[in-house]
Symmetry: D2
Subunit: 494 residues, 4 copies
């Protein structure tokens, strides 16, 4: 593996300023194409929004064995050069992009970057995991007790050690063994010397889709990564399904888990997935626009302009404008040259915060009543700063409309969320938040409104919710056992 | 000066794919603040769209003399770290961002990166220049003949040599002497040990604004760079004006040139300037939206969706939708992690071209009649690729609407344009372009329509045009004498 | 761990040109000093001759846990900066420098760089190993079969996995368990959260010494690394001994292995160790000078000058001159700015070979009968080139005198040797070698002469040799079982 | 030009510790070979001892014009890779290595790295200069007054500006004009588009030799750089001679200066030149050995061992041993992995000083009377530390023998010397120095002894010295006018 330098003493602009939840990973795999690594790199580039800190690619070629490279930084900077890509030969490959998890001690190390690799007596296997294993700490303790040596601090490494200890004779069966022991959310793309494997946990919390590229096959977190390489979208991997694909193009579909009712993550629709991806047969962009429409119906307000907080609020703002008739305008402009981190910036630059990234279109805003549409409010820190910028520019009124319900519970299924007490909505009512942000009005879409926007015309089925919405509802479909052991308090039964 | 590495063998994504003209420079200066370099860096970051290849900063502190750093790459990567910024002490500083000019032989060298510095017998001066000197080659020959040694291939270096040879006793007077010898377009920000100086050429082709920051003063290409540092916009430097600002806050306004009627670059409104800047008292965003409105009036078409080619077509698309009533939609999504260059990418990645940057929202486009709004057509290469992506996604019809008139003449005033024969509009009529692009319709805004959108309700005054529109009209307000010497054919008198 | 970049496509100057065997590793550890990492770095710098490719340091501080960094390149470049060293806090630390082994597939990866670390249920441990485990492949197969996941291609990683699977309750006992399973040569420096541990295999093939530094203790491959930090040499760790040192300065000496007669590597005296180190109570420099004396007695020749092949032939050349009376002279001068590798050099530079490093003192050599003293002949490639350079310079006669017996067998105990058929002495007699090198005479010291020079006045005890001299004699004190399994033919019994 | 990064905040090991004078430059040029840059790089590598901080190469090829690269660091690291060298095409090239001059303000900038280049009306020229111009400051003031813009702080840049202002019609004549205006020491290698030019100042203070390589010609500071590329030594360029070499192999020899008696730098024999170079028909090594012989005659002492201070004291120590009969031994061992600078080392490492580089062979020294032979004493700081190391190791007596007379005057002809008051010999007598160093004896070779060793059997001609020995005698053959203007006191006439 060709390691690369982590940024030294970085100033994480997003962590300080952006008021967002962050997907922790994207996965991608391809089999049956020449120079698979190029396709994996392009796929990961299209999935970069799911993880910006680091990425890795593993390939296999009979004459070279397994090859691998893991790098800090954007795929476009790390996995495009001829000199790196020629170290990754073969027609079978998988890749992973990752965001750093808030819970880890200290900065991410290159050893934490996936795919993880293990050599078994019947050959090697590499795995890339999107999601989070909720019983990882207990599993790790048990494995160490028995003599396994962990190399990373990642929960995902458990899977490879469980596979190593399985008594099964082939790698797919070992993976079944291993995944039956893990709890939580997982969309896994894995490979052996000859097979590409995709698995989704029984609830199907994280996405995973299957595509066709000539005679080859592709697995990807989202469809936008099929588009970039010109692959055709075939279908989603189903919750609880495991597909095993051979180089000659055969696909075997297995069901290793006890069947459960699916609970896809509703926040993928709200924010995580790219607007040009298709989830559950629906355009993500169109769903978001529809959230704006619902929001305009639920929480109308008289105003002169509807402005998105760029870029994630844009589709909902378009919908809000179309439903309400209030003109849509780019009241806030994003600096397109803004990167994610700085290396040891000066104090003055560090203090600039959101102004490095966003600027108000002053000539447009002055004297106007402005509706600002954002996708979510997490800590509320960015919302406050944006409101101040808008008022400084002379807006007459500021109305916030939020395209998701109040985020009041942390996610334990592969999303980087602050501790519960840092979530604004965990400690304040909507009116308290309005006062805290000091805006003329603040409204979130209702949970039912959100369900309607994703196509559930009857809204949420509270007996048996159609999605995982734990971050809004506090109802966790899989018990977060490691967290409970560390003292996390579940929502009291009502 | 702390030099930095130029990208080795870069693959210039924009040069290959993007069908745009490019502003070549942005300039910024500040006096009377502590740690001036921080402000200059932030200003340059806000002006990054005017030049992405390299940047430079010069400062002066009595105890350290002149300090300077020039770097390849984005300001956010090169001029934010404590270790670089502490090498640039002082309360007076200027900076420059540059785009590489197509005409230069080979790649830009660090010695070509401004500000340029000269030591004179009465002290040193640094200058940063936005624009282009149209008689630079003749001046250079003359200066070399007399014993000047040029260090760069830049036209701007002439200014500093002309200053060195002036018989005036102070630097501002030497600058007046020098600038009276140069022809073409120039907005210059300069500094001595004690003074910040700003000059605009008599036609005022390139912008330059004055701002106030506490007790200090700021000069900047655009107002968006005042916003980022919290400076107040005071006024534009007038065409033909030279301002000399002392650290104690006094401003002297001089008129070194023979008065002429101003001819501001109209393309700054169309594309170069940032939408959140204010030019001539008008929001650039609002002007672009108005271009869309005019375009919808001039060239309506029945359709299901209006989609911008992101990001530059967005304001005009909004205006087009608002005027026409055809719904606005994000039919094309831009990958926000796309950088400008790759280092020696693989052949496969090089061939991806525009697909690395843009993806079609397939679920939205399928079966729809789509109006695509773009800001301009230069070579037409990107337009073709976008049209193919849209048709591949199943659009029923594709109609291009262009927010500027046909670009049929090169710019010689500081904009990177291809040779005339590479400009699609130089060799084809509108209908030939439509056939070439193979779209259902193609319409450009008229020159009069553009003038109306920038506020000239009577349209263009053809006797005495209010703007420089040479790229559309072929009418050059300053004779491009170096080019003519090299064989460039002016438009035949009608 | 802070990873670093391996050199991309390096041209290994030594591998191509130098006719030497290479020690594969140096180890160092310290306990009971503040900022242990600084001492480890200095120690490794002094041991750099034992491994130039990469180095690693692990430290432990109660408040930070284990910290580690592994880097490609020289210690002086990688482990001196404040920014790296401050990531390695604590008063207890170990380190390792490594040379790449010829047998490994492909280039060294950062994951192959020691110390290796393992987390056990009773806490973590790090180990650094000098030597080679001769049954590593069999052990690795067995461990993988049982579910261990190997991260590196290093034989040394077996030790940490054996420790992980031991049923002992404390780490030193687990290490005893593990080392009883491994065969071959090993000098190990290890650490837990509180203890520094040193072990030498029962034959004591590789060196390991104990030093005292104030109230702290030091373990090092050689005494020269005690000198650099001002530590006092206490004694050698004995063959088969394990010392466990606590931070309060207590040393426990254990004997985990079945006692055997020691067989220290005689080549450490000839070439590997630094001339300023002390081995077995003898100055290495003085031993080498004495080899020259013996050589002058065994193989005198009439000549004008005795010249060393720099730098390793120098002490023996001094001894040869002193014994023979032929004047000593620097007939070959070494370029002190020569590094070990180039990154993708041009063809012309690649072809320069030894001339990049050595130059003949032409004015001195012309017309002279020259005795060249070198430490060994491995492939003979460099010897040929040097002879040609000397003749080109006009020498009248060239006589080679070699300070070791013919190297005709590979080493399997931690030295990088070519395959047997590449060793000149494995396929040619002394006279055939002389003809091959085309010199006037060629003589190697006898094995008995070498033993006399190291202080064995009776020469080699052929029944029970006092040293490991397998590279000369083919008599391997530990059976190289992995090699035999792969087809290596032991010397036929006589 | 491809710029490179200067070391940031380097800790200059030599400047702090080493008690040496440093040559400031080496120059090299070649014409009439394919891929000239490769030869220049190899030549500069062989001349690296004359300047380690930075290097530059300029080449010319008709189809590419002039190409150039300037880099910080060793030639072997900066000018060997294919990717750099292919940017330097052509069959004509020159190069330069430089050491930083103590007098400059702040660290060297890449713009200070030679060769310097100037474009004149009749074409371009590049020059590389070894030496120092003693009236550079006056010339610079005059040139700036007339409108020249200086880019560097180097005295050598004056030459190119003087050439630019010459009224001559061809470049060699302009160079004659320019060099007639400069005072001081200069060996210059220059090139035009078609010619390679070499010049030595009338006194011939710095060396410059001519070599033949096939049909091509070579100019070099020393003969060792001819050896590395296999060129044949033809002759020295004579003091006051200018050679102009055309690609077809013609050499024109000119005499632009008023004839003077030559005064070659005697310190080139003592220390600057490489021991394998030939100066004035004599092997430098042999001259140094002869200095040791003279020293043994002048200052014998009873002792057990003669040890060189490595590496520069080695030849004289060999001569001392041979003349005195006291055995030669390597009592001090140099760490061959020691580089010249560290980037921001920790305080502990910074404090190690000379121990990072040298170690005493303790087993050899204990109880012995040791003669240490060093080439010179400048500040005396290193000598003190070495003496302490030797005594710590248990030496019975320490006798210093110095292979040059007391250095009591600074050099102004291209050597980096401390200010006069920092020179130990400027303020102390030999006995005071002995007490200061606290050694048993201290003796310098006499000035006459040194002259005898370089072949002047009658010693120094005090009326008309054969060499420049200003650093010993205070008799400056060219008046250091810039220095005198700044207050430097010449030696009072006796």
């Amino acid at each position: 593996m060709t390691p690369s330098l982590p940024p030294s003493h970085p100033f994480d602009f997003d962590a300080v300023d952006a008021d967002k939840l962050h997907e922790e990973c994207g996965v991608f795999g391809v089999v049956g194409v020449s120079d698979a690594a190029n396709f994996v790199a392009l796929g990961l580039h299209a999935l970069q929004h799911r993880g910006q800190e680091a990425g890795g690619i593993v390939t296999y070629a009979p004459e070279h064995g397994f090859s691998s490279a893991r790098k800090f930084g954007y795929v476009r900077d790390t996995f495009t050069s001829q000199s790196v890509m020629e170290t990754l030969p073969g027609s079978l490959g998988i890749g992973h992009v990752r965001y750093s998890t808030s819970g880890s001690k200290g900065p991410t190390q290159i050893r934490d970057v996936q795919p993880f690799f293990g050599e078994f007596s019947m050959g090697g296997a590499a795995i890339a995991h999107n999601g989070n294993i909720t019983n990882a700490e207990a599993l790790r303790r048990e494995l160490i007790e028995r003599g396994s040596i962990f190399q990373s601090s990642s929960d995902s490494e458990c899977i490879i050690h469980l596979m190593a200890r399985s008594l099964q004779r082939d790698i797919p069966s070992r993976m079944e063994d291993a995944l039956r022991r893990v709890e939580g959310a997982f969309s896994v793309v894995a490979m052996t010397r000859t097979k590409l494997i995709g698995v989704r946990d029984p609830l199907g919390v994280r996405p995973l889709v299957l595509g066709r590229l000539g005679d080859g096959w592709v697995l990807s977190s989202e469809t936008c990564a099929l588009d970039i390489i010109g692959a055709e979208f075939v279908r989603e991997i189903e919750p609880g399904e495991m597909v095993v694909i051979t180089p000659d193009g055969k696909i075997e579909s297995l069901r290793p888990f006890r069947p459960q009712r699916a609970r896809f993550c509703i926040f993928e629709h709200v924010y995580f997935s790219r607007p040009d991806s298709i989830i559950g047969g629906r355009s993500v962009y169109e769903t978001r626009r529809q959230i704006g429409v619902e929001l305009a119906r639920e929480a109308p307000v008289e105003a002169d302009l509807v402005c998105p907080v760029p870029d994630s609020g844009t589709p909902a703002a378009i919908g809000f404008s179309q439903e309400s008739g209030v003109p849509y305008a780019m009241g806030i402009v994003r600096n397109q040259y803004m990167g994610r981190t700085f290396i040891e910036p000066t104090e003055q630059i560090r203090n600039m915060g959101v102004r490095l990234k966003l600027n108000v279109n002053r000539a447009l805003i002055r004297g106007k009543r402005v509706i600002l549409v954002d996708d979510s409010v997490v800590r509320g820190t960015t919302s406050r700063k944006i409101k101040e910028m808008i008022l400084d520019a002379g807006a007459a009124e500021v109305h916030f409309r939020i395209a998701s319900p109040p985020t009041s519970w942390p996610c334990f299924y592969g999303v980087d969320t602050p501790q519960r007490e840092k979530l604004l909505a965990a400690t304040m009512s909507e009116e308290e938040m309005r006062q805290h942000l000091n805006v003329d009005s603040l409204r979130f879409i209702s949970l039912d409104g959100l369900y309607r926007a994703v196509g559930e015309s009857q809204g949420r089925n509270s007996e048996c919710p159609q999605y995982c919405d734990a971050c809004f509802s506090g109802e966790y479909p899989v018990e977060p056992s490691d967290q409970i052991e560390k003292g996390f308090q579940l929502k009291a039964a009502e």
